[in-house]
């Protein structure tokens, strides 16, 4: 059910304020969502004054700086720092994105950092993505070519290969799915943009032999048709992909195919 308000244990309280110790003139206020599973308290917003003179260009650099120099207790996921692994997906000033590819110069005023929206928080900026991974598994994201030999190469034309462009690049960072209001309200049943983009990627793969079965599987009032083209997904995608269009294409295939 649609629940607009946060539950009682999720209401965000004001937290600590970390004043600048460096004496720098170029300061920026960075507010970060904090929740400690061992404390039993509600989540809070801690605010840090960060010396921007000695900070590289991305939001992830700010987080690293805070963790290294101000407050080592802060927890967040990060790995490659080049927009390839998708670990550092979070909500920065109201928009989902990768902290490692989002320049802080593009954010006006104070910086607010939250975990990806509408997830169970594990700690601080780390959200629980188990549900999404289970849904990803449910679409069976691997090649199914039952009749063809598994030891021989399956030839694909250049045109058929080109159809996968814009779908295979997805890094499963969950920026899109967690930006989608439909996914917030129906995340247990609606597959969400990330998983549907991957479903589309396997449906249109010319080498795959279970196209019809895959289509039948997603053809469901809740799994697919909860997309109401709000387009938060396409707006959020840090790789510039278009999940909304992929979902529309699946709907179109279902409307025109006789299954």
């Amino acid at each position: 059910m649609t629940q607009i308000n946060l539950p009682e244990n999720s209401k965000v309280k004001k937290g600590k304020y970390f004043k600048d110790q460096t004496g720098s003139k170029n300061l920026r206020k960075v507010s970060i969502y904090r929740w400690d599973p061992s404390s039993g308290e509600n989540p809070r917003i801690d605010t840090y004054e960060v010396d921007m003179d000695n900070c590289p260009s991305k939001v992830l650099d700010i987080l690293n700086k805070i963790k290294n120099e101000i407050d080592p207790t802060i927890a967040y996921r990060r790995s490659c720092a080049h927009g390839v692994c998708g670990s550092c997906a979070m909500n920065m000033n109201g928009k989902n994105g990768l902290a490692c590819t989002t320049p802080h110069a593009e954010i006006d005023g104070d910086i607010d950092i939250y975990p990806l929206p509408h997830l169970k928080v594990k700690k601080d900026l780390i959200g629980d993505l188990d549900g999404l991974y289970k849904q990803y598994q449910s679409i069976e994201p691997w090649l199914k070519s039952n009749s063809k030999s598994e030891t021989k190469e399956i030839i694909q034309s250049k045109e058929d290969r080109a159809k996968l462009d814009g779908a295979y690049e997805c890094i499963m960072c969950a920026c899109c799915s967690t930006s989608c209001p439909s996914y917030w309200w129906n995340g247990d049943k609606y597959l969400g943009p990330a998983v549907l983009l991957q479903a589309y990627r396997w449906i249109i793969d010319s080498r795959d032999e279970e196209r019809e079965l895959r289509l039948k599987k997603v053809a469901d009032e809740l799994k697919l048709y909860r997309c109401h083209t709000i387009l938060n997904c396409t707006n959020a995608c840090p790789k510039g992909l278009n999940p909304a269009k992929a979902i529309a294409e699946i709907k179109k295939m279902l409307a025109t195919a006789n299954i």
Binding site: P7, V12, W35, P43, N91, G94, P117, A248
Partner: protein, 127 residues
């Protein structure tokens, strides 16, 4: 211990943009339209029952609240129609590029206001 983990903030913090605004307005105007169409049907059936009813309806529609009601309704219908056309085009698989969605969204928002004014002027000058 179960469900101890808090839910991260969602609609409270997520930034609005043109497409999400048009989408939520589409739903709201849709609900308004359904309620209002029912209301108009009731008015129409009242007319069948006699002249005195007509006078009451006329009095209501000429009042300030009545005029606001009509104008709001015109906007709500204009918005719904334009937004629906936008959705139909999207259902055909077109107009999903970010720039295009922004432009079509703006066309819906400003178009609905222009249509409202146009309907108002047409109604005033020709009927």
């Amino acid at each position: 211990m179960e469900n101890k983990a808090p839910l991260s903030p969602h609609i409270q913090i997520y930034k609005w943009h043109i497409s999400s605004l048009v989408s939520i307005s589409h739903r709201i105007t849709g609900i308004i339209n359904i309620i209002v169409i029912t209301f108009i049907c009731l008015l129409a059936s009242l007319l069948v029952l006699g002249k005195s009813n007509y006078e009451i309806i006329n009095l209501f529609l000429s009042s300030l609240i009545g005029k606001f009601f009509i104008l709001g309704l015109t906007w709500s219908f204009s918005f719904q129609i334009l937004s629906e056309i936008r959705h139909l085009i999207m259902d055909l698989g077109y107009g999903f590029e970010l720039r295009t969605t922004k432009i079509t969204g703006l066309i819906v928002i400003f178009g609905s206001i222009i249509l409202t004014v146009a309907f108002y002027l047409i109604g005033k000058n020709f009927f």
